[in-house]
């Protein structure tokens, strides 16, 4: 695959369509030579980013779409997931506290950002006006054997 390849997908703001982005990201990562393990990590991270965009960014509004932009360099695959919300201000996600969740002291949900951050090499959340808020995910080929 050529350096600088670029793919864009637009998803309806409906849960389930995150799987389209997952498949696209997995196909690009496979073309670049990523291992199955890294591709599985990327698929989960991309799915969670899209779910957040559909549910929280676009509030399940069927008139809005989620943009997924995948671009490559020699050694990395970058995925941007763009929505019409105001974005997430956090620079990092808190680790879930399973004990508090089991005790009912913390919502069982709220795992998405943690999983994203844990499964890719870079994860950044950017706030912006409608259509400009995004999360940027990167996986790098040089991390393959680490």
């Amino acid at each position: 695959m050529k350096n600088g390849s670029f793919v864009q997908v637009r998803l309806p703001s409906e849960l389930g369509f995150e799987k389209v982005a997952m498949s696209t990201a997995a196909s690009m990562a496979a073309l670049m030579g990523f291992s199955v393990d890294r591709i599985d990590d990327l698929k989960t991270a991309v799915a969670e980013a899209c779910i957040n965009a559909i549910e929280h960014g676009n509030q399940l509004n069927s008139s809005l779409t989620v943009g997924v932009v995948l671009s490559t360099t020699d050694d990395q695959l970058e995925v941007k997931v763009i929505d019409d919300g105001s974005g997430v201000g956090a620079s990092s996600a808190a680790s879930p506290n399973i004990d508090r969740k089991i005790l009912g002291e913390e919502d069982p949900r709220g795992l998405g950002m943690f999983l994203i951050q844990s499964l890719v090499d870079e994860a950044e959340w950017h706030q912006g006006p409608p259509g400009k808020s995004f999360v940027r995910l990167v996986i790098r080929l040089d991390k393959e054997n680490q």
Partner: protein, 119 residues
């Protein structure tokens, strides 16, 4: 657009000789699965003390799906008399469940044979 989850229930026996109920899931597990999964769990007889959750047939699970199983473990923990274990997860989702900490409350086994041996 979310795919459906199917749940089947069967009885089995652990290597220790104790009775086990296996709940097998197939399809996708997402927020849309909550009613189906909790209904299956709530439908278990109160005398069931060992439950195996079988993910062998699961094709996709996301964080909302994982949260449903945290809810199941929360209920099991409250009852205080039921052991839950998990088998059939892919290596990737064994890693994810461990990252979240679920293995602290439900042992993760690679397959049914290992789970029956471990219970």
């Amino acid at each position: 657009m979310q795919a459906t989850t199917k749940v089947t229930q069967r009885a089995a026996t652990a290597d220790s000789g104790s009775a086990v109920t296996i709940l097998s899931f197939s399809g996708d597990i997402s927020s849309a699965s909550k009613e189906t999964i909790l209904a299956a769990y709530h439908g278990l007889d109160g005398s069931v003390s060992k439950v195996l959750l079988d993910f062998t047939g699961v094709e996709y699970i996301n964080s909302s799906g994982i949260a449903i199983f945290i809810q199941v473990l929360l209920e099991s923990s409250k009852s205080g008399s039921r052991t839950i274990a998990i088998f059939g997860l892919s290596p990737h989702f064994q890693k994810v469940f461990t990252m979240v900490g679920i293995n602290k409350y439900a042992a993760l086994y690679s397959d049914e044979s290992a789970a029956k041996s471990g219970l």
